[in-house]
């Protein structure tokens, strides 16, 4: 099968100019030579802590910001080489759902306008009657009511607003949706509603998702494959069950160990990871994770490990992944 989206050696740096007198500007490598692909109908999860570059990656996919180098190929078209008119046309197939349902809807527009705007932009708007029917249908698809069309965003709760944001992305019948932390601003009871909705519409419309989140349980629940990012690099990418069942990277292992589980009788077996996430402006040499890594050796300080296949379909960037793999296996046997 051919991937719907293919990303090759994508990099993006930001220049930060110091405001202090005589301060030098520094460069921050937000995304550092990453490659991955997503197949039609698949959900790829992108997970990592703040500042790891996951949101920047999402924006690069949609070309909301320009990449420094590398390529994004969507449906056999290289996004970076499209003219602005071509890009606009292509965005019909590439939509985004944003994190903050309070700031991502224009407060001065009625729901009707919010949903009709993408249709108009892409010349898909029909006259009166059919448009009305289509918008009502859209709202019903996301679990709202046609009577909500003439309301303003402030008349809705956070969960309902997120549904409107989803309806807006769905309006133009896209192939790929980039969802950047779509549920992290919502309360748990509402979060489950929106996750279910996203899975339903994926089935119904055959959507492909790039799902960006920091919540490992949500990612496990919704994703087929998962990519873990740390300081601009992908450190591990594999089918979800392998990431969660037999990780090959110490950072993934530490992340999973740190997630508090809703089970008061569970004994925590791992020490939490020490230290802070280093500044992406001045990342550590070699493997970026080495100062916090319990497995680190001299080679990790000098040589950055390649992302390579450690098991079928399971890529990790670590010099010592065989040690982790053996350790988590012993963990499993002792717990059984």
């Amino acid at each position: 099968m051919k991937p719907l989206l293919e990303i090759k050696n994508l990099s993006k740096s930001f220049r930060l100019t110091s405001k202090a007198p005589g301060g030098k500007s520094v460069s921050l490598k937000a995304v550092d030579d990453i490659s991955f692909s997503i197949f039609p109908g698949e959900t790829l999860g992108l997970v990592g802590e703040s500042g790891c570059g996951k949101s920047t990656t999402g924006k690069l996919v949609l070309r909301l910001i320009e990449a420094d180098s590398g390529s994004v190929t969507f449906d056999d078209k290289e996004i970076g080489k499209l003219s602005s008119a071509q890009l606009r046309a292509e965005r019909r197939n590439l939509q985004m759902i944003f994190q903050d349902p309070y700031s991502s809807l224009n407060p001065r527009m009625r729901v009707r306008q919010i949903l009709a705007e993408p249709l108009q932009l892409h010349g898909l708007d029909k006259n009166g009657r059919t448009l009305q029917e289509e918008l009502s249908h859209l709202l019903e698809t996301v679990g709202l009511d046609a009577s909500h069309l003439d309301r303003y965003p402030h008349q809705f709760s956070g969960g309902q607003r997120q549904r409107i944001g989803i309806a807006r992305a769905l309006a133009v019948k896209p192939k790929l949706i980039v969802a950047d932390e779509p549920v992290s601003a919502l309360d748990v009871s509402i979060q489950a509603q929106v996750i279910n909705l996203m899975q339903d519409i994926q089935q119904q419309f055959g959507l492909t998702y790039l799902f960006i989140a920091h919540d490992l349980a949500v990612i496990e629940h919704i994703c087929d494959r998962v990519a873990v990012m740390y300081l601009g690099r992908i450190v591990e990418i594999a089918p979800a069950e392998k990431i969660y069942g037999s990780t090959q990277h110490p950072y993934t292992e530490a992340l999973l160990a740190a997630v508090p589980r809703p089970d008061p009788k569970r004994e925590r077996t791992h020490q939490p990871l020490q230290g802070e996430v280093p500044s992406p402006v001045n990342p550590p040499s070699g493997c970026h994770f080495h100062p916090r890594c319990p497995y680190a050796q001299n080679i990790c300080r000098t040589q950055s490990p390649e992302l390579s296949e450690k098991a079928p379909k399971h890529l990790a960037a670590c010099h010592f992944s065989h040690k982790i793999a053996s350790q988590s296996r012993t963990d499993q046997t002792t717990s059984q």
């Binding site: 748990v188 489950a192 490992l216 160990a257 508090p260 589980r261």
Partner: protein, 320 residues
Amino acid sequence: MQPLLDIRNLKTYFHTDKGVIKAVDDISFSLVKGETLALVGESGCGKSVTALSLLRLVPPPGKIVGGEILFDNTNLLLLPENDMRRIRGNRMSMVFQEPMTALNPVLRIGDQIAEILQLHKGLERNQALERSAELLAEVGIPDPEQRLRDYPHQLSGGLRQRVIIAISLACRPEILIADEPTTALDVTIQAQIMDLLGRLRDENEMALLLITHDLGVVAESADRVAIMYAGLIVEQATVVDLFEHGSHPYTLGLLASVPRLGGKKGRLTPISGQVPPPLARPSGCPFRNRCPEAFDRCAEACPELKELSPGHLVRCWRRT
């Protein structure tokens, strides 16, 4: 055991132009030395207002309109403001949610910690700064002397939250209220901060009131749990009881709606509908519109919090 803090029928209302918002509507609970009670609920359930009420820091137009807050047998609601100031930050202190805004951006870290020691403990500035460095070391901040001279913007979120914890612990409070202390932090840092709070609680025999919406954090850190909904406590139990024999339909709904690591895939079971706006709560039980088990009686009157088994209280007509 004699409770250290005993809250009885606390009511905090906000008198707005549109009507009276009952943010905290008659809640009672107690805290004993060395224990962690988690106050759990979704946005708008009144958990943060409860915390602010305990310290008498409710912002206007909010007002505590009823009840008692007994701290060491003294009703805090009857104390003159001057006496209250001697308790606040000293014997009872608070860790705020947002590490990016809870510190003063134009004061050095050292001065912000030293201030509280000078105020409550009467230390000289030099002594206070020395003690501040010790406190920073205690919460696991490397190079504490160096950090004293830093401004908040020079520190990461995790370090700022540690500074806030150091400030709140400076006077060795008997009660620490932590309002979503790790919500703004990444998961690896969250684990460090929760470990730190637990260790300091044990060392100082502090009582910890942990306000959170994260059931994972509750399971790992709390001894007892109170679940809040629409200004009311709907269930209260030991942490093991709550997770294994949770009884209130809202508690069950919360537990079922969280995706779990290693849990079954497939559909989640959300709670239908949404939290009612505070001015449009339904009559009777405030949860009845979303409750799969609601029946006629739920609309007629709000159930009382009743004991299901020793230490396990639930507010539901179906259960009592």
